[in-house]
Amino acid sequence: MQRSASDGAARAVVSRRVLWIVPILLLPLPLLLNPYQQYVINLVLVYVPVAIGFNVVVGNLGLLAFSNVAFFGIGAYTAGILMVRLGLPWWVAVPPAALMGAVAGCAASVPALRGVRLFYLAIMTLAFGELMRWVYIRWIPVTGGSFGMALPPPDLFGWSLDSEAGKFYVFLGLVLVAIIATDRILRSRFGRAFVAIKSDELAAAAMGVPTNRYITLGFAWGGAVVGVGGAMYAALIGHLSPPAFDLTELILEFAIIMVGGLGSLVGSVIGAVIITAAPEFFHELPGYQELLFGILIVLVILFLPRGLASLLARAHPLFRDRYDRG
């Protein structure tokens, strides 16, 4: 029994190389789709890093941090402000967006380090997110206030990325980097420390794991990845306004990681693919999206608490997260 399990895992590692076919198969996609469909695909790519970063903090570290929309908005506004107010090209603004996301992540981890946990942490980080939205509305000279801020078309090393296809290739590259780097982190010492903190923080600390340091690192990494997602969002939408970063956005992001699978990298990707496109179908029907998403999350929690990723992992070891021993 034990042996067949490890055989399966070994086979999975070998056949995992197969996964590289997926991005290669995606390459000719822009030739096949119309610009609107391409826009939706790009939106999915934006939400992959957003979900990955969120899932690291909530799923892997197991902390109730509701501040993901704040990281997302800070990344998007950092990129937007650098492009509009300082005239920097988009690709120059991506690393600062990641950096500001990481700084926001460190800031959001401060209450956790002071021992604020569970519902208290959730409430506090929720207040942080709402406070940031208020900053976007009120800091009018910089953020453009409620009217928002129109952005120039993004570019990469001087190439203009005004077509959806151009954005697609750049986004695909960034998403791959985010997935691979997060996979490495979760499989390393860091990822094992996250597992220890999630299952029993006191025991982890007693075993000598510097829990505070890992919590800050987890938040910072999550914030950075989500910040990159924000910069991608700014490039895709071309216009930033405060309502895009409200509580509804938080629930969309929760829906992504819950449906995909908490604490699973595979789940973050699946969830982003399935959920992100959904709001596009509800433009004409206000209210129905909220109702259906609400019901969907309720059903997932009741009947599939580890999300679609757990179903896939059961079906084929290829979809098992490599850091997931459970």
């Binding site: 197991g62 959730a122 406070l131 923080e201 509804t248 629930i251 109702l291 609400g294 309720v298 929690i301």
Partner: protein
């Protein structure tokens, strides 16, 4: 003179926050689960009242009674069908479950009533009284009076009746309460329902002074949390005092410092209190020490 005027209207608003915080505290004390959908339940209570009183045309007291019982049933069934099955699970699931229920409610309100801004007509004349130089509106009186009445009722229930003893017993030890024959799951359902009923009362009072929108739940939730946090989580008198202090702070800082504070006092209080004194004014210890 201005100061006393600000204090009067601050206390009236604060009483409303106190009621909302209190309604959240009742559910929390019974189940130790925070209801992240509570803001939307308050919103739903206000809309249910609007529907019954204006849409159907019922007299105000009957509409109030029906709305309150409807929301009690909703809270009861929410606890029974959605929260109870996962109550032993991770806190995250519980938080997101309540958040998702609230989100679905918001969808229902938007489908049914759209984004129109609706007003609940007052069942009383909108008079104002002069107390020396200070103006007291009928709204202030009705809100403060209703909340004080509900507080008195809760005080009696919690401190004088047998039900209060049961509540105290379950709050201290669920296992112990179960051993002496208290039906803890049923108790959870009833208290969760009591919380949503009190939330309905808050929503109806809120609807008297602000226009209804499907999105008012977030605003409500943030203020309820701020009042609870300031008073100390789980403390009933803390929720009341926290609510009144929050109302006063919004009015006083909003007038003397900057109008900005009307919007952000709630967020600032939540963040600062949890950073500096997580247990609030009257709560028990709230942090994990590693």
């Amino acid at each position: 003179m201005i100061l006393s005027q600000l204090v009067i209207s601050g206390v009236a608003t604060g009483m409303l926050y106190a009621l909302i915080a209190l309604s959240m505290t009742v559910g929390y004390r019974a189940t130790t689960v925070v209801n992240f959908g509570h803001g939307d339940i308050v919103m739903m209570g206000a809309y249910a009242m609007l529907f019954l009183a204006v849409g159907v045309g019922m007299p105000f007291p009957l509409a109030l009674a029906l709305a309150a019982s409807g929301l009690f049933l909703f809270g009861f069934l929410m606890q029974r069908g959605l929260m109870a099955p996962i109550i032993a699970g991770p806190h995250l699931s519980l938080a997101i479950m309540a958040l998702a229920v609230g989100y679905a409610l918001r969808g229902v309100a938007r489908i049914e009533w759209g984004n129109d801004i609706l007003l609940l007509p007052r069942p009383y004349a909108q008079n104002a009284f002069l107390l020396g130089p200070v103006v007291i509106t009928m709204d202030d009186l009705v809100i403060t009076g209703s909340v004080l009445l509900l507080l008195l009722l809760l005080f009696v229930v919690f401190n004088v009746t047998r039900i209060g003893k049961v509540i105290q017993a379950v709050f201290q030890t669920q296992r112990g309460a179960q051993l002496v024959g208290i039906n803890v799951p049923a108790f959870h359902c009833i208290m969760w329902g009591a919380g949503t009923t009190l939330g309905t009362a808050g929503g109806v009072l809120l609807a008297l002074i602000v226009p209804l929108t499907p999105d008012m739940g977030v605003w409500t939730l943030v203020r309820g949390f701020a009042a609870m946090t300031l008073g100390g989580f789980g403390s009933l008198h803390g929720a009341v005092i926290g609510g009144v202090l929050l109302g006063l702070m919004e009015k006083l800082l909003g007038f003397y410092v900057s109008t900005v504070f009307i919007d952000i006092s709630g967020y600032l209080i939540t963040i600062l209190v949890l950073l500096i004194r997580p247990q609030g004014l009257f709560g028990q210890h709230a942090t994990l020490r590693v």
